[in-house]
């Protein structure tokens, strides 16, 4: 059986590109949920509505990018570990400036512990957003098809 590695590689890259927006959103919202008073927007408590809005909008924006629903769903799932890694990286940023508030090896566990709600929430939101994104994409394409034929 011949495997077209080049095509597989391109497919992985495409999935990573699609998962970029949901992953960024997850990293940002996980970080925000842990430090709502020291991030952006500054608030005394983390806003569940804001987290849900950002995750949902980003998952739709990601879902729009995919050619197929399957690709959108895979990208939605791939965004979870990527987003978690990004949240850990954000929590490390003071360390990059030479400031250590937490033991570096404890940071991933700290993030996982205190952002568990956002991490769990992002899974169904990403899948739902992927489906909605695909619906929007198909509708958009359908609306453009007659224009192309008329040219």
């Amino acid at each position: 059986m011949n495997i077209d590695w080049s095509a597989q590689f391109r497919r992985v890259l495409r999935i990573l590109r699609i998962s970029l927006v949901p992953a960024l959103a997850l990293g940002y919202t996980a970080f925000y949920s842990i430090y709502p008073s020291a991030t952006f927007p500054v608030s005394s408590d983390a806003s569940f509505g804001w987290i849900l809005l950002v995750l949902f909008a980003a998952s739709i924006a990601g879902g729009i990018q995919a050619e197929y629903l399957q690709e959108a769903l895979v990208a939605g799932v791939a965004a979870l570990p990527l987003g978690f890694a990004l949240a850990v990286l954000l929590a490390f940023t003071p360390g990059l400036a030479g400031l250590y508030l937490l033991e570096p090896s404890a940071v991933p566990f700290f993030i996982a512990h205190f952002a568990i709600l956002v991490l769990v929430l992002s899974f169904p939101v990403n899948l739902l957003g992927a489906v909605i994104g695909q619906l929007i994409r198909d509708r958009f394409r359908a609306s453009r098809a007659p224009n192309r034929l008329s040219r």
């Binding site: 970080f31 430090y35 709502p36 008073s37 500054v42 408590d45 980003a58 990018q65 940023t93 508030l101």
Partner: protein
């Protein structure tokens, strides 16, 4: 030709959505990181420098502290803030111990002292807690890249704290009897102060974890609390 290749010419709206989404999220993350790093800088760089001096008002002609005299302590608690966010003093907890010279000389004293090992580890110093309390009303602001001081003036009189006053009276009297002045008796200072970081609101939720309170609150210490 697959579906992706077929649609390449009509992909630009989707690419625009991708670019706009990434840009917005990167801006959010950039602002978050900038704020987080500035708060971390305050935590990592702020320090406290406290000084104290004790004087005696109304000393008798022989240099001893009479019953109507006053032992007055001036404590200046200064916080240096090289960070980019202002701080506001919340609480200053202070303790001032006087070295119990009669106790160290082997006299039986009717007070409870704290044994503290000597700096060279060969003996024990006995310290008596003359001043102990807190101040929460200053609300002094420590500006960003600046410093702020809470000045405290603490009076000890017979009417305020009889037990502590009698101890100080006895210890300073012992020093005078040995040819030294009352002001020559050594004191030890301990300061524990907490400050709020300006622009970092405290959580209002009763279920907020402790670390979220600690993010906006800075606790600085100078000296050793010998009673713990």
């Amino acid at each position: 030709m697959n579906r992706a290749d077929r649609g390449a010419s009509g992909e630009w709206p989707f690419a625009a959505v991708l670019a706009a989404s990434v840009a917005v999220l990167v801006v959010f993350m950039g602002l978050s990181v900038a704020n987080f790093v500035s708060v971390s800088q305050v935590h990592a760089s702020a320090s406290v420098e406290a000084t104290s001096s004790v004087g005696y008002l109304g000393l008798a002609s022989d240099g001893t502290l009479p019953n109507n005299g006053t032992a007055r302590a001036w404590v200046n608690v200064t916080v240096l803030n090289p960070g980019p966010k202002a701080l506001v003093f919340d609480t200053v907890i202070y303790k001032l111990w006087i070295e119990d010279l009669p106790h160290e000389a082997g006299f039986a004293v009717p007070r409870t002292d704290v044994p503290v090992p000597n700096a060279n580890g060969t003996g024990v110093r006995w310290l008596f807690t003359a001043y102990s309390g807190s101040n929460t009303s200053s609300a002094v602001v420590v500006p960003a890249f600046g410093k702020g001081t809470v000045p405290l003036r603490l009076d000890l009189r017979e009417q305020i704290d009889l037990r502590a006053f009698v101890a100080v009276q006895n210890i300073t009297g012992f020093a005078v009897s040995k040819g030294a002045s009352a002001t020559a008796v050594p004191w030890e200072l301990f300061i524990l102060t907490s400050l709020w970081i300006d622009g970092v609101p405290q959580p209002t939720s009763p279920t907020a974890p402790i670390y979220q309170i600690a993010v906006g609150r800075l606790v600085l210490q100078q000296g050793t609390d010998f009673e713990h």
